[in-house]
């Protein structure tokens, strides 16, 4: 009973290098209006390269065909539901792409005079303000390039503050449900990681935490709602425990889409947090970026924020570099400005009234899916779900089918899979986040697909284990890729040409 089928079959496509033939080009330059200079004379023979070996040589029409055809191999939000848990794959409004290309914004040079940059600075200042309002924090930096970069910045701020108090401390406590970037971040900022076991409801175990927090504890990195999609009901208590011991509470804001307009981290004890503007605020993921990892802090951390900071100097915006206590730069220039424009456009379109509505719809969609699948899959935890529903493949493993297999089979039904095997604390996790921009019909098709797969597993597990069946590229051998890595094309290696 496949009610929705999308095949990803497309044309065999060679690599550009394989299509190249000498002398072909897709460009024409304006005529040079100055005398042409001999490179060897100007740079010296040793500094002048003969050629870029094997660089592509194709015509303009070959370029557009190559990339147009390749694009048809991708699944995307623009094609259907993309329920990757923890990734908040919501619709990306196209008007945001347009405004980000506004000439005065897209072509502003970061070093042009401030007097000629007031528009871009106003955009950044406005975004800082609304993000502070949404999070309930006191100050925001837009410099970090992505969530993980924001985490790093945030923990650096923690360390800077503690240092200023005389002791940077040694460890960061991280729940076992946390995203991999959390411990990796702790390590990059010179801290040891202390693992905190989640309780039977998937939440922070306050007793266990209390027992763990000590004078060496710099902070807890908590994700709220956590990675099983559950709101940390004791979050205020958790903050209490930490603050009593002089430790800070860092919040991973990747799941902020569940909270916007209904509760503010600043109101439940968070000292510092990051936002993924490319999730909550709908800037396109673009196949893996760019993103923006804005960091919001409370007053006591503000002096340490990366520099420069926007300041108002007699009715004009200016960049303030005189910040002796700042941790310094985490990135050149001021942040991923083009992404910031899109995020602000998104917030303006929804407005103070629309943002909470979007949050509510995100919760509604997630719980609707949870309800529909409960009879067929084991819930990871039965605590109330916020923006995503997390299941375990426990029941299906009995038939030898795992979360990864179910994910591949979903592809045959025309959907992108959910997030597979994360969080690690759930046995064979299936993490499903529909977001608010999906319609009921689309959700119903997805639920039907999942139910249909559950039944297939009963009757014919093999069908699921060998999926996907409808794709141009069948199951990909990832083990082989890692065993002897081929990470680039080389002239010799044309044996396995796709075109044959």
């Amino acid at each position: 009973m496949i009610r929705k089928v999308r095949s990803h079959i497309s044309q065999n496509e060679s690599l550009l290098f394989e299509m190249s033939s000498p002398g072909k080009k897709g460009y024409q330059l304006p005529d040079l209006d100055v005398p042409s200079v001999d490179p060897i004379e100007a740079l010296g023979a040793a500094n002048t390269r003969a050629e870029i070996e094997d660089f592509p040589e194709v015509s303009e029409v070959e370029v557009i065909r190559h990339f147009t055809r390749l694009s048809t191999w991708n699944y995307a939000i623009d094609l259907g539901l993309y329920p990757l848990g923890s990734c908040t794959m919501k619709y990306n409004p196209r008007v945001n792409e347009l405004v980000a290309r506004t000439e005065g914004l897209a072509w502003a040079h970061p070093y042009q005079p401030e007097s000629l940059s007031q528009g871009v600075m106003e955009v950044m200042a406005t975004l800082e303000r609304v993000l502070a309002e949404i999070t309930g924090m006191d100050a925001v930096t837009l410099q970090p390039a992505a969530g993980a970069h924001g985490e790093m910045t945030g923990i650096m701020l923690v360390r800077a503050l503690l240092e200023s108090r005389g002791n940077p401390r040694k460890k960061i406590i991280i729940p076992d449900s946390a995203h991999g970037t959390n411990p990796a971040t702790a390590a990059m900022t010179g801290y040891q990681v202390a693992n905190l076991k989640s309780n039977e409801r998937g939440m922070v175990d306050v007793e266990a935490l209390a027992a763990m927090v000590d004078e060496d504890t710099a902070a807890l990195m908590v994700t709220n709602p956590n990675t099983v999609g559950v709101f940390e009901e004791n979050i205020a208590k958790v903050a209490q425990v930490l603050h009593d011991k002089g430790a800070l509470m860092y919040m991973d804001g990747a799941n902020m889409n569940a909270l916007v307009g209904i509760t503010r981290p600043g109101d439940f004890g968070v000292d510092v947090m990051h936002l993924n503007l490319h999730k909550t605020f709908s800037t396109p993921h673009g196949g893996g970026g760019p993103g923006s990892g804005a960091v919001a802090v409370k007053k006591h951390l503000e002096p340490f924020l990366p520099k420069p900071r926007l300041v108002r100097v007699k009715d004009a915006w200016s960049w303030n570099y005189k910040l002796p206590r700042s941790i310094g730069r985490v990135k050149s220039f001021y942040g991923n400005f083009g992404v910031l424009v899109r995020a602000l456009a998104y917030i303006m379109a929804h407005g103070g009234d629309g943002l909470p509505r979007a949050t509510g719809d995100a919760l509604l969609n997630a719980n609707y899916i949870r309800k529909g699948l409960e009879p067929y899959y084991d819930l990871a935890y039965n605590a109330p779900s916020m923006h995503e529903a997390v299941f375990s493949d426990h029941r299906q493993t009995a038939k030898g089918v795992h979360t990864g297999d179910i994910a591949k089979r979903l592809i045959d039904y025309g959907f992108h899979p959910y997030t597979v095997s994360f969080p690690l604390i759930v046995h064979g996790a299936m993490m499903i986040e529909p977001t608010e921009t999906e319609s009921k019909p689309e959700l119903d098709l997805f639920i039907d697909a999942m139910i249909s797969i559950a039944k297939e597993i009963e009757i014919d597990p093999q069908l699921v284990l060998t999926a996907p069946h409808s794709t141009r590229t069948t199951k990909v051998d990832e083990v082989m890729a890692a065993r002897k890595p081929i990470l680039r094309w080389r002239r010799e290696a044309t044996a396995s040409k796709a075109a044959d």
Binding site: K25, L29, G104, K475
Partner: protein, 445 residues
């Protein structure tokens, strides 16, 4: 749907949140606006910035022409609205383009492998340093003062929090290139890597071979950075480097007030497993057809957690795609021609000015304001709708009234002449300049 869930209202879905944390007041943000209002707003903001100015700013962000094709490709919803290609079977489009990107980066830089992208050129600096430490088991980083000042700032921020020692070495006051003697003086057997930039912040082309010799003699790794990718169309890549990092903004990425850009990191075969970030590899599907997938994930945070080579997760995929299309459009011949146009323009302007340094340069160079301050000169230029070069005093007090000037294929001759006029440059006779360069060229060869 509410009925299905047996609730009255959406509020019921978060009724379980502790009352004391529930938001009491509505958000203090204006009500939702129409698409038309939003376009209006950003048009107005855009109009508040420099538009219609000629500009001589470079310094890590370059004003090159963007072929329309680049924008067309990244605007395809299938590229724009897809996530990191975890599910290879339905992400061959993105995976294939990343594989092509990795390949082109290797071809450009002369390295064996490159990753899928870094946030930008600046964050690639500390990542390269950390990589070198893992590879050498040493801790010390030496970085040239002729590396972009903001890149060095980013390095020191990262280094400070890992308690890693970083030291700088100087540049030759004459040539504006690395002071080899100073490097010799500061390098030792605790040095994990030496980081230089070429063309350097002053636009000067560094003597990579000579630097590599010194570096390798002490068992350290050489990291070479670039900010102007177009230079690689003409300039010999740093084949003697162990790690090459850089910023690809020049390739179709609009300046966009500093981002999003895309950084690269490339290295030798033997250091593959030390690379940070995502890697796409070739493999086969179960019917034996060539296919691509993310690989060597055991270096990454989602597998190795605190033992990962970096915490990077989301990178700059779409910007990397834009650069990939750019490289495809220009191709082998085009990139070379583009680079020589940049070279010719810069040298045309330079020939009318008093240069601070004698070293060979690509499309940027340092000029002295002479008796006038840099700001004074730039103020005068603004009146002519020209944004002048970057005053260096702020970054290099010792360079006083000097200005970093950049020319690209977009720079019009009339504007160059206007700039030269304003600076009342004491023109260096072209012959002499050229010959000076040949010497230098010779000296490196």
């Amino acid at each position: 749907m509410l009925a299905t869930l047996g609730v009255e209202s959406i509020e019921d879905l978060y009724a379980h949140l502790p009352a004391d944390v529930r938001q009491k007041e509505p958000l203090k943000i204006e009500p939702g606006k129409s698409e038309y209002d939003i376009v209006d707003y950003f048009k107005a903001r855009g109009a508040e910035n420099a538009t219609g100015y000629a500009s001589f700013l470079g310094a890590g962000v370059y004003n090159h022409y963007r072929p329309v094709m680049c924008d067309v490709v990244v605007s395809r919803g299938e590229f724009l609205t897809s996530y990191t290609p975890y599910q290879a079977e339905i992400a061959q489009g993105t995976l294939t383009t990343i594989f092509e990107f990795q390949t082109m980066i290797c071809q450009l830089t002369g390295m064996d492998v490159a990753n899928a992208s870094m946030y930008d050129g600046s964050s690639a600096v500390p990542e390269a340093a950390l990589m070198a430490m893992r590879a050498t088991g040493r801790e010390r980083t030496l970085i040239a003062r002729s590396v972009h000042p903001e890149y060095r700032e980013v390095l020191s921020t990262y280094a400070r929090f890992q308690g890693l020692p970083v030291a700088e070495f100087g540049y030759d006051k004459e040539t504006g290139r690395v002071d080899l003697a100073d490097l010799e003086k500061k390098i030792n057997d605790k040095t994990a890597c030496v980081i230089v930039q070429s063309p350097n912040f002053f636009g000067g082309v560094e003597a990579i071979k000579a630097i590599a010799e010194i570096t390798h003699k002490h068992g350290a790794l050489l990291v070479v950075a670039f900010t102007e990718a177009v230079s690689l169309g003409l300039i010999e890549p740093p084949r003697d480097a162990d790690i090459v990092i850089g910023e690809m903004q020049s390739f179709a990425i609009s300046p966009s007030y500093g981002g999003p850009f895309v950084g690269i990191i490339a290295t030798k075969e033997k250091y593959i497993r030390q690379l940070p970030g995502r890697l796409v590899g070739e493999t086969k599907d179960n019917q034996g057809r060539r296919a691509y997938c993310l690989t060597l994930a055991t270096r990454e945070q989602h597998i190795r957690r605190e033992k990962a080579t970096s915490n990077i997760c989301t990178n700059q995929a779409l910007i990397a795609l834009m650069a990939t299309v750019y490289m495809s459009v220009y191709g082998k011949e085009g990139l070379r021609e583009l680079a020589s146009q940049n070279l010719s323009k810069a040298h045309y302007l330079a020939s009318q000015m008093k240069l601070q340094f004698t070293g060979p340069f690509f499309n940027e160079f340092v000029v002295s304001g002479g008796t006038r301050t840099a700001d004074n000169i730039n103020k005068a230029l603004l009146k002519k709708k020209i944004v002048g070069g970057l005053p260096l005093k702020k970054y290099y007090p010792e360079l006083g009234n000097t200005i970093l000037v950049c020319c690209t294929e977009m720079t019009k001759r009339a504007d160059m002449d206007a700039l030269a006029g304003e600076m009342k440059a004491v023109a260096v006779p072209k012959a002499k300049a050229a010959e000076a360069m040949v010497e230098v060229g010779g000296q490196i060869a």
